[in-house]
Symmetry: C2
């Protein structure tokens, strides 16, 4: 993708089906814009230094915190501050735009088998 | 807005009518998420150090560069790299989500009477 070229979110989303594997669609200074498809429950984790923005493009994302849960609908966003444990849960498939520092690892400090190295699409 | 509280983009957009005056709705590390309503033509400008992401939520944004133009539709985004002169033009009202370093000034190095200090909403 050339600099200053527009990106269609729906066209990018059509290019992958894999769940819980963020794909990079843009870079803004040291931040990455990623798209991810979610279904089911992820692992509890937090990020030491990175805040993380989730913008729901389709479906309903349940963002669980240790003491509460936020149901984030299409056209809504939630920012999870660094250091805060969270677990994304999707009862049905959810499409999300992520915005976070490029250093962000999807499983944060928890690591483990669900860690993915994001690729550009 | 508390950390980890969800934000409805449509609810935030309903809170202002002013054109060309970005409103901050979230912070992600040293980045700001802003909403802005555009109609007409802005000033030619560039940002010395900041890339700038425009995600079109409603309408059609014509992003002009010195040598070409991109028509960015609803559900599409464009990232303008630092140093690149650009001019946003909206024939009809357009609603945009901006994502950029918090240091970003709307008129960049051009300055002038259309400069706005963004406020939180």
């Amino acid at each position: 993708m050339g600099a200053g070229q527009k990106v269609s979110l729906s066209a990018k989303l059509a290019r992958f089906q894999e769940l819980w594997s963020p794909k990079i669609v843009g870079a803004v200074n040291d931040f990455h814009v990623k798209l991810v498809k979610l279904k089911g429950a992820f692992v509890w984790h937090s990020h030491e230094a990175e805040d993380e923005l989730f913008l729901v493009l389709r479906g309903r994302l349940r963002m669980q915190f240790r003491d509460r849960e936020e149901a984030v609908e299409e056209g809504e966003l939630i920012i999870v501050p660094r250091g805060v444990e969270h677990r994304p849960v999707a009862d049905d498939e959810v499409h999300v735009l992520l915005l976070e520092p490029s250093s962000t690892v999807n499983t944060g400090t928890a690591g483990g088998e669900r860690t993915r190295e994001p690729e550009w699409i």
